[in-house]
C-alpha cells in the first residue's frame, strides 16, 4: 500500500484543568490514516474529542503524546518556521461561519491573507477565480462578511482554505451550523472540490447521514477513542460496535415508510472525559456490558466476518446487520 498522506499514531491530547489536579482526556491514543484524495469521516457525539483531533492535525494544538505524520514526516512538534514549507498543504474549514471570518476585513483580504502569509502575491483575478469556484459572485470581492448569509460565508471560508492549493483539508463540522437546504449546497461544493482537485479531507461531523454522503471511510469516536473504523459501506451496513448501532438507529429519517431498522435508546449522556470509565469506555451505557468490559480495554481489531480495514473495539460485538435490535435503556420510556 502506498504511503498515506496523513498518519496519526497513538495521538493523545490531555488538557489540564486549572486549579484542580485533573486532566480532560480529550483525545486518548487514536491511530488512523488518510490516503491521497481520500475523505475520512470522523463522527461522534459532542465532547468525544473529534474536534480536538482535527485541531491536532491542523497543528493548532500540540499533542500530549503520539505523532502526526504528514507524508512520512513527523510534524507533531514542528515550530511555525519549520512548518512553513508544508503549511499551505494542510488547511482547515471551520464550523461557525460567523466567527471564522474577520468582520473587519473584506472578502478579498480574507481570501488573500493566507497567500500573503505564504509569500504569494494575491491578485484580484486569482481571488475572483476562487470566488467563482466556490459559487460566489466574483464582484463581491470588496464586500464585508456581514453582507453575506451563513451559507455564503461558509463558501468564503472554503475559498480561503483553497487559496493555498492544499492537499489536505480538515473540515470541522463545516455544515452543522447551516440550514438544511444550504447544508446540501456546501456538501456538494466540497464533494466537487474533492473530486476535481484531488484534495483529501478529514471530515468531522456529528451527522452520520452527511458523513455517509461525503466520506469513503468513517471512524466513530467515543470519549477520546476510536471505537470503530471502516469503509463506508461496511461500517453503515455491517456495524459491529454497539455504540455505532446506537448512533445509526438514532439518525432521523424523513421517510415515514422506511422499514424500521432497529431502535436503540441509550440512557443518559456521555460520561465526563475528566474521569472516563475503566476498561471499555462505552460500558456505562452499553446493554451488553459485563465484568470483563470494566477490567479490560477492548483492542481495535478486525473481527471475524468483517471486511478488510474494518476495525472494532468491542469484547461483545453485535451481529453485522442493522436490523433486529430493539434495546431500550431509558427508564422514562419503559
Amino acid at each position: 500500500m502506498a504511503e498515506p498522506l496523513l498518519q496519526l499514531t497513538e495521538l493523545t491530547k490531555h488538557f489540564p484543568l486549572k486549579r484542580r489536579r485533573v486532566v480532560v482526556h480529550a483525545v486518548d491514543g487514536i491511530s488512523l490514516s488518510i490516503g491521497e484524495h481520500e475523505s475520512l469521516g470522523l463522527v461522534g457525539e459532542s465532547g468525544c474529542g473529534k474536534s480536538t483531533a482535527g485541531r491536532l492535525v491542523a497543528r493548532l494544538q500540540e499533542p500530549t503524546s503520539g505523532t502526526v505524520s504528514y507524508r512520512g514526516q513527523d510534524i507533531s512538534h514542528w515550530s511555525r518556521r519549520r512548518m512553513r514549507p508544508i503549511r499551505s498543504e494542510i488547511q482547515m474549514i471551520f464550523q461557525d461561519p460567523y466567527a471564522s471570518l474577520n468582520p473587519r476585513h473584506t472578502v478579498g483580504t480574507i481570501i488573500g491573507g493566507p497567500m500573503e502569509v505564504n509569500g504569494l502575491r494575491p491578485t484580484e483575478r486569482g481571488i475572483k477565480e476562487l470566488l467563482e469556484i466556490v459559487g460566489l459572485n466574483p464582484e463581491h470581492y470588496n464586500r464585508f462578511p456581514h453582507e453575506f448569509s451563513g451559507g455564503q460565508r461558509q463558501r468564503i471560508g472554503v475559498a480561503r482554505a483553497l487559496a493555498l492549493k492544499p492537499r489536505l483539508i480538515v473540515a470541522d463540522e463545516p455544515v452543522s451550523a447551516l440550514d438544511v437546504s444550504i447544508q446540501a449546497q456546501v456538501v456538494n461544493l466540497l464533494q466537487r472540490l474533492r473530486r476535481e482537485m484531488g484534495i483529501a479531507f478529514l471530515f468531522i461531523a456529528h451527522d452520520l447521514a452527511v458523513v455517509r454522503h461525503f466520506s469513503q471511510r468513517v471512524a466513530v469516536m467515543y470519549l477520546g477513542k476510536i471505537v470503530e473504523i471502516g469503509d463506508r459501506d461496511s461500517l453503515y451496513e455491517r456495524p459491529r460496535h454497539p455504540y455505532t448501532h446506537a448512533l445509526l438507529s438514532a439518525v432521523p429519517d424523513p421517510d415515514p415508510d422506511t422499514p424500521r431498522r432497529e431502535r436503540i435508546r441509550l440512557a443518559g449522556d456521555v460520561p465526563s472525559p475528566v474521569n472516563p470509565p475503566s476498561g471499555c469506555r462505552f460500558r456505562t451505557r452499553c446493554w451488553k456490558a459485563r465484568d470483563r468490559c470494566a477490567l479490560e480495554e477492548p483492542p481495535l481489531v478486525r473481527l471475524g466476518g468483517n471486511a478488510e480495514g474494518h476495525l472494532t473495539a468491542c469484547h461483545f460485538p453485535e451481529a453485522p446487520t442493522t436490523h433486529g435490535s430493539d434495546v431500550v435503556l431509558d427508564p422514562a420510556l419503559s
Binding site: R84, A99, S100, H105, V117
Partner: protein, 324 residues
C-alpha cells in the same frame, strides 16, 4: 441538472460594500442627540485650541488685572452678578480682578489638553498591556494581572496628590523651582500612570475572547506570525472597545484633573485652570456665587455632552444595545 452548485441568486439587502466602521458611522449620524452633543463637545475643543485668538478678538487676556478698581474693599466684585458687564462678559475674579471669561477659556485649554494627552497615554499603555497579557497569556498575563490588581487597590486621589511632587522631583532637582510646562508634563504622567489599569483589564478580556475566535485560528493555520495575527486580525477588532473606552475615560480625566487643581496640586496660580477656579470659587461662593457657577456650568455641559456622545458612539458600534 441541479448537481453542481449554482451561484447565489438572492442578494443580501444590506447596503453593499460598507465596512462595519462606516456602518457604525452612518448609524451614529442618525442619532440626533449624539450629533448635537458631538458638536457641543467639538466646540469646547475648538475653544481650547483657539484660546489665544479668542483672547485677541475679545481684547483681554488671562493674566492682566483689569477689574481691581471694580472690587470692593474685601476684594469681591459687585453682587449678585459678580461684575458681569458688556466689558467683562462673565464678571471679574474676586481678589485678583482678572477677567473670568478669559480665565475660563484658558482654563478649558489647559484642562482639556492635560485630559486629552493623559487619555491618549493611558490608552496606549492599556492597549499594549492588554494585548500582551491577553495574547501571550501565561506568565506575562499573570504578572500584568498582579500589577493591575495593586494599581486598582491604590486610593487614587491620595496617590495622585502623593505622586505629583515625586515626579516633579524626578524631572528637576529638588531645590529648583518647577517650571509650568514641567508640572504640566507631571500631571499628564501621573494621570496616565494611575489610570491605565482599568482599560488594560477590559482590553485584556477582549483580546482573550478574540484570541479564541475561529478567524484567528484560520490565520494560524495559514502560518501567520504572532505579529501579523495581532496587528491584522486582532487589533482591527479592538478599535470599537478602544474608542468606547477613550470616550469614557476623557470626561473622567477632565474631572480628576479639576479635582487635582481643587486640591492645590495643579499648575500653580499663574496658569488658568478649571480646577483652580473651583478651588477659589469654593472659598468665595458665599459672597460671589457666579464665580463658582461659570466653571461649574461649563464643565457640566462639557461632560454631559461628551458622555452622551460616547453613548451614541457605543450604540452605533454595538447595535444590540439599541433601545436600552
Amino acid at each position: 441538472m441541479a448537481t453542481v452548485v449554482l451561484p447565489e441568486t438572492a442578494e443580501p439587502t444590506v447596503t453593499i460594500g460598507l465596512s462595519p466602521g462606516r456602518i457604525a458611522w452612518r448609524r451614529f449620524k442618525r442619532n440626533r442627540t449624539g450629533v448635537f452633543c458631538f458638536f457641543v463637545s467639538a466646540t469646547f475643543f475648538i475653544i481650547a485650541a483657539t484660546a489665544p485668538l479668542i483672547s485677541l478678538a475679545y481684547g483681554k487676556n488671562a493674566h492682566e488685572r483689569y477689574g481691581y478698581r471694580l472690587l470692593d474693599a474685601s476684594g469681591y466684585p459687585p453682587p449678585p452678578t459678580g461684575g458681569m458687564s458688556p466689558e467683562f462678559w462673565l464678571g471679574i475674579e474676586p481678589g485678583l480682578g482678572r477677567d473670568v471669561f478669559m480665565q475660563l477659556v484658558f482654563g478649558i485649554r489647559t484642562s482639556l489638553a492635560i485630559a486629552l494627552i493623559a487619555t491618549v497615554g493611558l490608552m496606549l499603555i492599556g492597549i499594549t498591556v492588554g494585548i500582551a497579557a491577553g495574547y501571550l497569556g501565561g506568565r506575562t498575563d499573570y504578572w500584568a494581572g498582579r500589577v493591575i490588581d495593586v494599581l486598582l487597590a491604590f486610593p487614587s486621589q491620595l496617590m495622585l496628590i502623593a505622586l505629583v511632587p515625586v515626579v516633579d522631583s524626578m524631572l528637576v532637582g529638588p531645590e529648583e523651582a518647577t517650571p509650568t510646562w514641567l508640572r504640566f508634563a507631571t500631571l499628564c504622567i501621573v494621570l496616565t500612570a494611575l489610570g491605565w489599569a482599568g482599560s488594560a483589564r477590559i482590553l485584556r478580556s477582549q483580546v482573550l475572547s478574540l484570541r479564541e475566535r475561529e478567524f484567528v485560528e484560520a490565520a494560524k493555520v495559514s502560518g501567520a506570525s504572532p505579529a501579523r495575527i495581532i496587528f491584522r486580525e486582532i487589533l482591527p477588532n479592538l478599535w470599537s472597545p478602544i474608542i468606547v473606552l477613550a470616550t469614557w475615560q476623557l470626561p473622567i480625566l477632565v474631572g480628576v484633573e479639576a479635582g487635582l487643581g481643587f486640591l492645590g496640586v495643579g499648575l500653580g496660580p499663574d496658569v488658568p485652570d478649571w480646577g483652580r477656579m473651583f478651588l477659589e470659587g469654593v472659598q468665595y461662593y458665599h459672597l460671589d456665587f457666579p464665580y463658582l457657577l461659570w466653571p461649574g456650568l461649563a464643565m457640566l455641559i462639557f461632560i454631559v455632552c461628551f458622555n452622551l456622545m460616547g453613548d451614541a458612539i457605543r450604540d452605533a458600534l454595538d447595535p444590540k444595545t439599541k433601545g436600552l
